[in-house]
């Protein structure tokens, strides 16, 4: 084999590798490129979005909590004469949903006492990034009223249905006057 036939392509490949590597390294390490590359702003934006969502979540959490207190009071005051088919939970849900809808008509409450405020979107925008962080605002609460216990009541009377915080943020026991509709014997 001719020596030139070996050396020329090898030399060409060698030069090509050296040049491409040099250009890559020089271009990627230019000071201008580094100063433009900023991850601090992006991180700050993402963390701020998350913290804003936490603040919004706290808002909805407290909104549901206070409306539940108000609804428990209203529930006790508006209980009709009941029969065996009366649905305590449904009656309470109706009151709670009505109260929450006064704040925002789009809020829905399901039978598990889950108040759904829908999705909230938070945006992180800069020259190089358009990021949307979405969070489902849904608050589930352990009901104050023990509905299972209410359904076992067979006699008229005043029954304690739960304890709430009143307007002065002091604990207050709530009693409901339960009247049972008796079926006529004859």
């Amino acid at each position: 084999m001719n020596k030139k036939a070996i050396a020329t392509p090898l030399f060409a490949i060698f030069i090509f590798i050296i040049l491409s590597t040099s250009i890559f390294l020089i271009k990627s390490r230019e000071a201008g490129d580094i100063s433009e590359f900023s991850i601090g702003n992006t991180q700050t934006g993402i963390i701020n979005s998350y913290l804003q969502s936490e603040k919004d979540y706290l808002f909805y959490e407290k909104l549901v909590e206070f409306n539940e207190y108000i609804s428990v009071k209203e529930f006790a005051e508006t209980l009709p004469e009941i029969d065996s088919s009366f649905d305590f939970r449904q009656h309470f849900l109706g009151i709670l949903e009505k109260n929450l809808k006064e704040y925002n008509p789009t809020i829905t409450v399901n039978p598990q006492l889950n108040a759904d405020f829908g999705k909230k979107y938070y945006y992180v925008n800069n020259e190089r990034l358009n990021l949307t962080y979405e969070r489902e605002m849904s608050i589930t609460k352990e009901p104050i009223i023990d509905f299972a216990h209410l359904e076992t009541i067979k006699e008229n009377g005043k029954y304690k249905i739960g304890e709430i915080l009143n307007e002065d943020m002091e604990p207050e026991e709530i009693y409901a006057d339960i009247k049972i509709k008796y079926k006529p014997i004859f």
């Binding site: 084999m1 020596k3 070996i6 050396a7 090898l10 060698f14 590798i17 050296i18 590597t21 040099s22 390294l25 990627s28 390490r29 580094i34 590359f37 900023s38 991850i39 601090g40 702003n41 991180q43 700050t44 963390i47 701020n48 913290l51 936490e54 603040k55 706290l58 808002f59 407290k62 909104l63 206070f66 409306n67 207190y69 108000i70 006064e102 704040y103 915080l165 307007e167 002065d168 943020m169």
Partner: protein, 152 residues
């Protein structure tokens, strides 16, 4: 040159070439300055977290204070936030709670003090970082709370 010696020469040339290529890589990676990215932006969010926690822990007290317009108890709780520094204000529905005598600009403007006066506190001219949270009260009314910290 014999045929066998030509192939040996090719092998030696290839190995030498590989060595040179690796040396060039090595040269560039070692001798070029390390590509360190400095992040100078402020990515600390302790103040925001402190505000959320403060509101969560003192929620009932905040509601009572705004209802009765008496912030004495809340001011004591606010004073416990030592780690936020000395010049911190909490603004609840435009009622300002101060810490260690650090006031916000508006109060000075109301009192008509000016920077030329000897008693003037230079803190009032300092830039402040502001963190806001909105909370509902018992009647679904919105309470706005602002934490203002002097930008050191």
């Amino acid at each position: 040159m014999k045929k066998g010696s030509e192939s040996a020469l090719t092998m030696i040339a290839s190995v030498l070439l590989l060595i040179v290529v690796f040396m060039v890589y090595y040269f560039f990676f070692i001798l070029s300055s390390p590509n360190v990215i400095e992040i100078n932006e402020n990515i600390e969010h302790g103040e925001n977290i402190a505000l959320i926690n403060f509101v969560r822990l003192n929620y009932n007290l905040i509601l009572n204070s705004t209802r009765n317009n008496d912030y004495a108890e809340l001011e004591k709780e606010f004073a416990k936030l030592h780690y936020l520094g000395d010049c911190v204000n909490l603004d609840i529905n435009r009622d300002v709670l101060r810490k260690n005598g650090c006031l916000v600009e508006e109060r000075y403007a109301v009192r008509g003090e000016a920077p030329s006066q000897a008693t003037f506190n230079r803190d009032v001219l300092a830039e402040r970082e502001e963190f806001t949270i909105q909370i509902p009260d018992y009647d679904n009314q919105i309470i706005e709370i602002k934490l203002r910290i002097k930008d050191e």
